[in-house]
């Protein structure tokens, strides 16, 4: 308990000190996980819509894969992405291994099934005739999707929270494909691991608390949007 209180104190002191290294790591964490969440949304929402509304061969198989993917172990994802991007791997020529882009890619793979899965559920909860209604009222394809997204916004916000929450807190994939390089790929979770392994537990705890606070603020904003949007 004393450790925790001490860590909290140190976390506050760290934040107050204005240590640029800390703020750079926080910014990088938000940037990598934010970019991965946005990309997962751009790909996952349309895919989730198709899986929820269209009937096609292999749909059930795809749904099964998505549901399995919602619980992917990050370290395993990291390993696969590492094999893809490693110098000797099929995408080695892109020279992406141990970069922030590699971390975004790995986190995208983790977040995508979550976004797809939540989207499928929220679209299925809408009345089946809603897209037809919007068509007959005169909404073209994009307007229709926009209106449907508005109707499903509670579920879609939950999707963002689930996806972002999963990747901002993961360490295995970021460590494997990012390499935890101090001035380029270190993020809050990998920094926690580093400080723990150095025996610097109070600092590790402080960083952990900052990570939690960051996740909390983002989720608070989303929750606020959700409660305003809901009834």
């Amino acid at each position: 308990m004393r450790d925790l209180v001490a860590a909290l104190g140190q976390a506050l002191r760290l934040l107050a000190s204005g240590d640029p290294a800390l703020y750079v790591i926080m910014g990088r964490t938000l940037l990598v996980s934010g970019a991965a969440t946005v990309l997962a949304l751009l790909a996952g929402v349309p895919l989730g819509y198709l899986l929820a509304r269209r009937r096609f061969p292999g749909r059930t198989l795809l749904l099964g894969l998505v549901n399995t993917g919602m619980g992917l172990p990050p370290v395993v994802v990291g390993l696969f992405v590492w094999l893809l991007l490693a110098r000797s791997g099929p995408l080695g020529a892109l020279d992406l291994i141990y970069t922030r882009q590699a971390m975004v890619l790995a986190q995208l793979v983790i977040a995508l099934p979550l976004i797809v899965g939540f989207t499928v559920t929220s679209i299925r909860a809408l009345p089946e005739r809603l897209p037809d209604l919007l068509w007959t009222l005169g909404a073209g394809r994009w307007r229709r999707l926009w209106l449907l997204a508005g109707e499903a916004r509670l579920g879609l916000l939950a999707a963002i929270m689930a996806g972002f929450g999963a990747i901002i807190s993961e360490v295995g994939a970021s460590m494997t494909v990012g390499g935890n390089l101090e001035h380029s790929t270190r993020v809050l979770t990998t920094a926690v691991v580093t400080e723990t392994s150095r025996g610097n537990v109070p600092l590790a705890l402080a960083l952990g608390l900052i990570l939690l606070a960051l996740a909390f603020v983002v989720n608070l904003v989303l929750t606020f949007a959700q409660t305003r949007g809901g009834r």
Partner: protein, 318 residues
């Protein structure tokens, strides 16, 4: 707009290799209220969806005002299930007008007018998802009316009402349809609704059009036995060998213009009413019927043969 608002030409729709709709030819004249009448699963809603452009036929074409392929918003369509977006009734009624690019002031006018016509003016500011089934159906119709589209499709607009609400809304709907200049295609499986609302009737069963034409013409001369039975007629062979169809409610006890012999099976009591149940004796065998007994009339015992009469009848076929 031409004389023909909607035309089906050699239309065929299949699901899982089974033909569910086969309409070689059907025309809906402009400015009429045409009722697609038939049992559930007959293909009526599929016909509406084809007209609206929500489905495409596997073969043939559906022309709406001469054009093939109805665009988004090309017709106004009230689905059987009243579906609303989140928000007020007013916002829901205005959405279609907004999507059609109408200025706000005109949207307000039209929404107010159609809400008044459908008796939901007092509900406009309510959350659309809190409406009762009957209110939702009225709002569903109001949303469709507000579009003032030249072609309006109504799928079972009276579904979901209780008995009192049904009777009241049927009257309102009949009155509203008289004021509409456009073409209305209305789907129902209910005889009373069809007979009350139709200028023209299209009898649909098992994916095929059994009869189509002005309501009176079809009722006076159903083309075949199946159609007559779908229309609720009691079908029997008279002594001259002609196939007669007796419309629902046209049978009563006692001699009359057309008299038949009935073997009484029993007298049924339904509340304060009594109904005579039995078989009409015909050359082709017994035909089961049920008819009301006037209050205070004698109740014949089972097995007795009595006279009953039809005040109206149709000759079936050519």
């Amino acid at each position: 707009m031409s004389d023909v608002a909607i035309a089906f030409e050699h239309v065929r729709v299949a699901r899982e290799r089974r033909t569910i709709l086969d309409v070689p030819r059907l025309e809906v004249p402009t400015g009429t209220t045409t009722v697609l009448f038939g049992p559930n699963g007959a293909g009526k809603t599929t016909m509406l969806r084809l007209i609206a452009g929500l489905e495409k036929p596997d073969a043939g074409v559906v022309r709406v005002d001469g054009r093939i392929g109805t665009p988004a918003g090309g017709v106004a369509y009230a689905f059987q299930e009243a579906v609303f977006l989140r928000g007020s009734v007013r916002a829901n009624l205005a959405l279609g007008l907004e999507l059609r690019g109408l200025p706000p002031a005109e949207r307000t006018d039209r929404v107010d007018a159609s809400a008044r016509d459908c008796g939901i003016a007092h509900l406009l500011e309510r959350d659309a998802h809190t409406l009762s089934a009957g209110e939702a159906q009225r709002a569903n119709l109001a949303r469709t009316l507000a579009l003032r589209a030249p072609i309006m499709l109504l799928d079972e607009p009276l579904a979901g009402f209780d008995r009192v609400g049904h009777a009241r809304f049927l009257e309102d709907l009949a009155r509203l349809l008289r004021t509409i200049a456009g073409t209305v295609v209305l789907v129902t499986h209910d005889r009373e609704e069809a007979f009350r609302l139709a200028d023209r009737i299209v009898v649909v069963a098992a994916g095929r059009v059994r009869a189509a034409g002005p309501l009176r013409a079809v009722l006076e001369r159903p083309p075949d036995r199946e159609t007559a039975e779908l229309l609720g007629y009691t079908v029997l062979l008279d002594d001259d060998g002609a196939l007669l169809g007796i419309p629902p409610g046209a049978l009563r006890p006692g001699p009359g213009a057309r008299t038949f012999r009935l073997v009484v099976e029993r007298v049924l009591t339904v509340g304060l009413e009594a109904r005579l149940v039995g078989d009409i004796v015909t050359r082709a065998g017994p035909v089961p019927v049920e008819l009301p007994l006037p209050a205070g009339a004698d109740r014949p015992p089972p097995g007795e043969t009595v006279q009953i009469a039809a005040d109206a009848w149709a000759t079936i076929g050519d």
